[in-house]
């Protein structure tokens, strides 16, 4: 057919867009603003790496796998040290991960319950007020949670911990090697759990409310009860979104400093793998803030190394979480 042949022949022309001077400047500024986050992140990585270089060079991988934190005389053996320092971050790295995992394990059911309540159980107006309340909790400064952990939670929590240890001590998690229940990973985990619950709840709530209404009415028309509807429609739909929210919470918990500082006893000489009730924990962020004030230059460099590790771990967690949340949002919409 002649018409189709003719169509094939035509090729698009190049259209040059002339922009006025003001628009060129405007777009340039916007691009600069858009790239600010990237530039800052690179800057953070660069400066932390440079500042950590002396210690990383001296200790190599041992810095991340070793277990000790001893400032010594602040000189390296090559500099003629009489009392050489050793820096091994492993107990702190694992400790950070352990308390963050405890926090997420406690926070996930709580956050799901809260998000379900706000979406399906509470009356509209109460749900609205409750949502504001939960969001407000997310804005409470971490130092307030630190004080709460120290003054309110610790006395009670020590009793719970003791009870768990006495009655369930045969489980490896609840064993202790010496009695001291106050400043344990368990305690830090509870404080962090309360802090990240609003974050996970907010993400879950958003995912729940994005469940297509036709799926819900469809299930209801088939005679589903609230439980079967949530079990068979809402939760499967939201699974990966909640996972993403939990990862965001994990990232936040890994990086939390001040709240953990008040409720966790740092122990440098060995990794405490599972004894969560014992007052021997680790936290990279808390390490930095507790040692920074009196540190010699070499130890400062080690603290920068700790900061670098923390930065990379949280960045990876957050990037993974973002990818999960955004892909679910995209496929579900």
């Amino acid at each position: 057919m002649s018409v189709t042949e003719e169509i094939v022949k035509v090729i698009p022309r190049n259209i040059s867009v002339i922009r006025q001077g003001s628009d060129k400047v405007f777009r340039g500024i916007l691009i600069a603003g858009g790239l600010a986050a990237f530039v800052l992140l690179s800057g953070i990585f660069g400066y932390l790496a440079i500042s950590a270089a002396p210690v990383l060079k001296a200790f190599g991988l041992e810095f991340f796998t070793g277990s000790s934190w001893y400032a010594g005389d602040g000189l390296l053996p090559s500099e003629g040290s009489m009392d050489p320092p050793t820096f091994g971050l492993a107990p702190m790295l694992w400790g950070s991960l352990l308390i963050a995992i405890i926090a997420v394990v406690i926070a996930i059911p709580m956050a799901i319950g809260i998000a379900l309540a706000a979406t399906y159980f509470l009356p509209k107006k109460i749900a609205f007020a409750f949502t504001i309340f939960v969001d407000l909790v997310a804005a409470i400064p971490s130092i307030v949670f630190g004080l709460w952990g120290f003054f309110v939670l610790m006395p009670h929590g020590a009793l719970w911990a003791k009870w768990l240890n006495t009655h369930l001590g045969f489980i490896p998690f609840f064993k202790v090697e010496f009695e001291g229940f106050e400043q344990s990973p368990f305690m830090a985990g509870i404080v962090l759990a309360i802090m990240i619950t609003p974050i996970i709840a907010a993400v879950s709530r958003e995912i729940f409310s994005s469940v297509p209404p036709e799926l819900i009415t469809g299930a209801q028309a088939l005679g589903a009860s609230r439980w079967t509807m949530i079990r068979n429609v809402v939760l499967p739909f939201s699974k990966s979104g909640i996972t993403g929210g939990a990862m965001l919470g994990l990232g936040r918990a890994l990086g939390e400093t001040i709240a953990v500082f008040f409720v966790l006893q740092l122990f440098f000489d060995d990794i405490n793998w599972v004894r969560i009730l014992e007052s021997t924990g680790g936290s990279v962020a808390s390490l930095i803030v507790s040692r920074f004030g009196e540190a010699q230059p070499l130890e400062i460099s080690a603290l920068f190394g700790a900061g670098l590790a923390l930065f990379l771990i949280t960045l990876a967690t957050n990037a993974l979480a973002t990818t999960i949340v955004s892909t679910t949002n995209r496929t579900k919409k």
């Binding site: 922009r19 003001s22 400047v25 405007f26 777009r27 500024i29 916007l30 691009i31 603003g33 986050a37 990237f38 953070i44 932390l48 440079i50 500042s51 059911p109 709580m110 319950g113 809260i114 379900l116 309540a117 409750f130 504001i132 969001d135 909790v137 804005a139 409470i140 400064p141 971490s142 130092i143 307030v144 004080l147 709460w148 003054f151 309110v152 009670h156 009793l159 309360i194 619950t197 609230r226 439980w227 079967t228 949530i230 965001l248 990232g251 936040r252 990086g255 400093t257 001040i258 962020a285 930095i288 803030v289 920074f292 004030g293 603290l303 920068f304 923390l310 949280t314 960045l315 957050n318």
Partner: protein, 351 residues
Amino acid sequence: MSRLLSDTPTQPWKIVDPEYRIQQLVTHLGTPLLALLFTVVSPMSGFSGFTVTWFIFHTISAGLLAKYGKKKKSFANAFLEVFVGATIFVFVSFVATVLWPVISNGMAGVTHLNLIFQDAAKVGADTSLNKGGLGHAIVGTIIMVGIATLISVPIGILAALYVTEVRGKLTPFVRFFVQAMSGVPSIVAGLFIYSALIVSGILQYSGFAGALALSILMLPTVARTAEEILRLIPDDLRTAALALGGTQWRTVRMVVLPAAKSGLITSAILGIARVAGETAPLLLTAFGNNVLNLNPFSDSMSALPSYVFTQFLLGGDNDVKRAWFATFVLLVAISILFTAARIVADRMKRN
């Protein structure tokens, strides 16, 4: 027709069987009473004992009701309600115990106006609460958060505008890094400023260094909320302005930004609320000070959160009292900011 008109409308699905209502009342009121009784007479004691027993009793009674009660349900369905109720109860009561000590201890300081208006230059462990105060920390917080706002709000809005207006090839890249930046631990932001500006001798410990650390934490919050707001502005308006021969710059300035104004204010307030309570980065950058320092470029500066931190570490009776009061002031300020942000945002949504 006349009969139709005389019918009064009803909502038959809202009428509840009285017998069912009694059963509900018994479960919801009876179980906590029973749990309370149980906590008094048994070794399960205190708030935690009460919560656990209540949860167990409630689950049992809900299960019994589901099986034998007026409105039969599956046990899972009944348990779900108990579970959701329990999460609300636990969360709310935990948060209540977080807020209560701040309020009760903080109120003790409200009668001492000097606490707000004076600094801590001559305060020692034994100084009475009638002398000295935390005015220097309040002012320090205002200065540092103010500077951080001036830096990060414009940059954050620019980043958001890039995503919503330019929509260039870099858009996914920009969004990804803004999101990634929101996960930067606050202590790392402090370390970065310390290493980049203080170690290198560009700045000393100062309010400005603190403000820069805060603005790193504030930027992603502002950028993300501003982007959400700008997305709400209908594309119709942009097209209309362009069709009138507006350049992109004038379209944004005269149409998009005015329409988004209150939302952008919300994003700024949320950014402020995000950083006003930050402690860790300030310890590394602004350090802290006992006296009022109005110059952000020279000498260290105190802020409310870092003041609280150092006061608690001092540990004296009056030190701790002052710290509680500072916490109270901080919490009140953040609640006010947060409520304001909600109100402005709500007004924006209604328009």
